[in-house]
Symmetry: C2
Amino acid sequence: MTYELYYWPDIQGRGEFIRLLLEEAGADYVDVARLPARQGMGIAALMRTLDSTTIEHPPFAAPYLRAGERVIGQTANILLFLGARHGLAPRAEAGRLWAHQLQLTIADLLTEVHDCHHPIAGGLYYEDQKREAKRRAADFTANRVPKFLGYFERVLAQNPRRGGYLVGGRLSYVDLSMFQMVAGLRYAFPRTMARIEPELPGLLALHDRASARPRIAAYLASKRRLAFNEDGIFRHYPELDR
Amino acid sequence: MTYELYYWPDIQGRGEFIRLLLEEAGADYVDVARLPARQGMGIAALMRTLDSTTIEHPPFAAPYLRAGERVIGQTANILLFLGARHGLAPRAEAGRLWAHQLQLTIADLLTEVHDCHHPIAGGLYYEDQKREAKRRAADFTANRVPKFLGYFERVLAQNPRRGGYLVGGRLSYVDLSMFQMVAGLRYAFPRTMARIEPELPGLLALHDRASARPRIAAYLASKRRLAFNEDGIFRHYPELDR
């Protein structure tokens, strides 16, 4: 079966967390909205499901995944589903829920990253909420990033299986998501990260270990990996990074 | 086994979604932070786990649940765990993930409710971000509430089991959460809700049906149900409800 991933074609965004899992798993997938409209793909295909007034499980927003007859939405929920199927999450329920709990905390941090440049409305341009963005980002970089990343560093330290992974003794999708979070924060907030990275040796080692995995390294070097840019969630606006 | 729920003692907040499930299930639970400190309970007990540098699965924030030896965090994750145990979610994986997907979308809406009165920083007072709050709430009430609730109304309409529940043919924890969402939005944004309620007959019927269930009705009439207030997530600031 070929998975169909539906996400906006020009940004990493939330879709990237799913792409990283699919790439590490070596799964067969197509990134539908990045394929030509003349093949029935493209953004029109993505919108068809979002606007459907007939399907039983309509997603609220992209990303969503088609797996055979099933349509699954919400990034963390898709990872919960795929992680179990591809050996990238613990098999026992307790470990699976723990991995998911961490993923939901990563999702909370990601929402705060987004709201740094869009504190007023997703439907307005950054330029229309720049003053508010500066205020929000000042709190985010001073308080929120250190609090969240300090928490994840503590999770690594308190994991009794001392392998350097967030969950248990081997790589899970949560580690791939944490790689993406560190990479994105470094892109968007290089000054902030330079300041706090000395406190985060475990997360930095995890970032390096995840990106060195053969399939992830090949993916990152490929055209499938979109570059960070100022349309995505991680945006480098120097005025927000103090 | 007695569940221990850990959440801030003076607000409904995110903890309320878990309380509603536990009440409907008739589960045995204690609301730890609302019990006396001299019994080893209270906020100090809540903080002990959050600050622990030894436990294997530290939660990032309240609410969290203790179930025997397990500590589980993230509201939607706790509901995923409890829903399966108490017959308040579908048994099959596809239905269980669909219920969870809807719960995560409710969580997204709840975060936007919170950020209406705290668009800049959770650590600042409302009064210190009132101007930004007005701008954010204007977009929230005009665009976001109608979009989210319109989506859930569509989910009800597209559910092939025409029982008026969000998931399948019987009550799930998602319905209880939707009751809470409608009740909270009515409290915080009465003008906005009065304007859009004519478009939401399914959700309003669901709200009434959920609150009429014997255990929920008894809970809502009891002292265990805290009143909405301006320390919680749903706050009635008339200047934000236009």
